[in-house]
Symmetry: C2
Subunit: 245 residues, 2 copies
């Protein structure tokens, strides 16, 4: 489970308590506000999983090893770029992913703004808790509790995670997709496909698209190989590349 920039130590404590209630051990914290994070960890009775939480500077690093990244939030003010999955439908997706050797992350944004568009570009799906349209926004600790209840208590997962290496149809981990996106971006630049002013926007769209495609590890390896080859060719042919022979 990943918390992105939580602001309130009580909410961090509440999220940790819900994780303990539902038997989830691994917490990642992305870019926490330092005093908040210190206060939450030094609270009396702070659970062990808070003390063992892994801190990451950004979401990409936190979910690098994950094959299914599920962001959470409400949809009131934006049109999502990711497929939206109602929470009651999430458990079967997660079970399927785990059964083929994948790793899953559930990501919660900060209390005030939720996940940003940039955060969401690292997510394969956006999970929506069905709430009353007049009061859609949930408290962070309560949203965590509801999601974990759905995933663990309602839909028990197999006890021990599989130890085998991912099979060939397992999804590509997030870090591999980032690597692929980086190579494709280099290709675009080398091919003068993408004007400079559009690069940030293209990078964003590319990240979203690669996740929507649900590439397997093997797909990713092949596509990466292809784009590396293209890049090599482009650089070799381009007079300004410095690799001309």
């Amino acid at each position: 489970m990943v918390l992105v920039s939580p602001r309130n130590p009580l909410n961090i404590g509440a999220a940790a308590r819900a994780m303990a209630n539902f038997g989830l051990p691994h917490l990642h914290i992305v870019a926490p506000f330092a005093p908040t994070w210190r206060e939450a960890r030094s609270a009396v009775g702070a659970p062990e999983l808070l003390l063992n939480a892994v801190e990451s500077p950004n979401l990409a690093e936190a979910v690098a090893g994950c094959t299914l990244v599920a962001g959470t939030g409400t949809l009131t003010h934006r049109k999502p770029e990711q497929p939206v999955v109602p929470l009651p439908a999430l458990a079967s997706l997660v079970a399927q992913e785990l059964s083929r050797g994948g790793r899953v992350a559930l990501v919660f944004g900060s209390e005030k703004h939720g996940l940003t568009r940039e955060d969401l570009s690292h997510c394969h799906i956006l999970v929506e808790i069905p709430t009353d349209p007049r009061q859609p926004s949930m408290n962070l600790g309560q949203a965590v509790a509801v999601c974990l209840y759905e995933l663990t208590a309602r839909s028990p997962q197999p006890e021990a995670p599989r130890q085998e290496p991912p099979t060939s149809d397992a999804a590509a981990p997030s870090a591999r997709l980032d690597l692929l996106a980086g190579v494709i971006e280099e290709v675009m630049r080398a091919a003068a496909y993408s004007p400079h002013s559009m690069q940030a926007a293209n990078r964003h769209d590319l990240r979203v698209m690669l996740r929507r495609l649900a590439l397997s590890a093997q797909d990713t390896r092949r596509i990466l190989g292809l784009f590396r080859r293209i890049l090599w060719r482009l650089n070799r042919l381009s007079p300004g590349s410095g690799v001309s022979t």
Copy 2:
């Protein structure tokens, strides 16, 4: 929804927020700690349903009109006298009860001790949230959120509550069961069935049993009629009753 003696204003606020998130309008508070209750209601942005909450001196009064009273809690330290229903199975019971014109209350105990044995004797069932045995006890606001998610978001109820009077197989409201229990207790006393030292214990067991039987309104009317008749006979026959003719 009923909160019994909540101690922490933040928890009351969190419970109210979850109710707003999941579209439940009616909150009852039983025997609140006065300063706590004042603080929760005067909090900035206190939702309307907190301002409209109904205060009752005891649980019996709060659930008097209800035909299905579901207590919540963990089972770690006691053997429950009520049937235990795992939360995922609650929605179908509630839907069934509502469809035959009944009224349902979901009851949460105080943060520290949960519902007492006395509180539970007013409940027909005990709802258990399936949590990790190493950390079973949930935060009040989170437990409320999880229960309401299960009852509303996962299992939408029919929009408008039925306006017809209860049908003959509708369950007896709690206050009717209390009336029946009172008459039966009088009969026991009149028949010298229950020694004085046992009366409190018998009263408790009787309350538990009447709820376990799931009496319909019609059952209750008949049994009440029978016991009133018995009482009248006993009083008439007994020399010390003062009603001898």
